[in-house]
């Protein structure tokens, strides 16, 4: 197995997540895509730590997971709030603020 492959892999994954964020309308799916992006980052960290023989990567992954968790918590809460008070689930329906 080669380092390059892993990097490319993580990159592909990251890009797929990116596409999701760029193109999905459903807020939930956008959030999912964000999670996927972070996960891609994790992949890179782990493989790097394997090849660099330093533990920072793995620790970093823990932190990233934590962050992801917290983020998702807030995001989902906000989604709920928006759905309840505005009935909006498509992100591009939020167009009150412009120019």
């Amino acid at each position: 197995m080669s380092y390059q492959f892993l990097i490319i892999l993580s990159f592909v994954l990251f890009s797929i997540g990116m596409i999701g964020v760029a193109m999905r309308r459903n807020i939930i799916v956008v959030l999912i895509s964000l999670e996927l992006m972070l996960n891609a980052v994790n992949v890179l960290f782990i493989s790097a730590s394997k090849y660099m023989h330093t533990l920072d990567g793995q620790i970093f992954v823990i932190m990233v997971i934590t962050i992801a968790a917290a983020e998702t918590a807030i995001a989902l809460a906000l989604v709920v709030r928006i759905f309840k008070s505005l009935g909006i689930v498509k992100i591009d329906d939020l167009k009150k603020l412009k120019w």
């Binding site: 197995m1 797929i16 760029a22 823990i62």
Partner: protein, 167 residues
């Protein structure tokens, strides 16, 4: 050898699940796909010699987040409301193209990587003990900070969930 085969298969599945998660029409499916992709990621971690992280991955992501997502989706059955998942309008097209470009650059980058160190696993490198030990010593501060991040998350969630006088 086994490792390699395993790695490649895992990565293939990973990509597939990712793609499905992103492009599935129904949010529920996307969520499920995400969960599966997390499983594969965990597997990958194990291969890459980070068993503890793999465990954490399963516990937190699948155990917490996936459930959370599904819960939300089910609760407000958002899946109904997602009519046309992808919008084909100029901006989207352009972003497609852009992303493709970025991908190209990515491969270019990867090709450009020179003199890569050979990977090998030290025993117990990614073991719970080792990591735990380090968390308590060198990484004490990040560890504590992480707790505060979660705290902030809690505050944030409260902010939005509680009955504001607006609703």
């Amino acid at each position: 050898m086994i490792d390699n085969i395993l790695l490649y298969t895992v990565s293939v599945f990973l990509i597939i699940t990712y793609a499905y998660a992103v492009f599935a029409n129904n949010p529920v499916y996307s969520a499920m796909a995400m969960g599966i992709s997390f499983f594969f990621t965990a597997l990958l971690f194990v291969i890459l010699g980070a068993p503890f992280i793999a465990a954490v991955q399963i516990i937190i992501y699948v155990g917490a987040m996936l459930v959370m997502f599904l819960f939300i989706i089910m609760m407000f059955d958002l899946n109904k409301s997602a009519v046309s998942p992808v919008r084909y309008k100029p901006s989207t097209i352009i972003s497609y193209l852009l992303i493709m470009l970025i991908l190209l650059i990515g491969f270019y980058m990867a090709r450009g990587v020179l003199r890569m160190p050979e990977g090998f696993t030290i025993r117990g490198f990614g073991s719970a003990e080792n990591i735990g030990f380090n968390l308590m010593r060198n990484y004490l501060l990040p560890f504590e900070l992480a707790s505060f991040v979660l705290l902030a998350g809690v505050f944030g969630a409260i902010t939005f969930i509680r009955k504001g006088k607006g609703s």
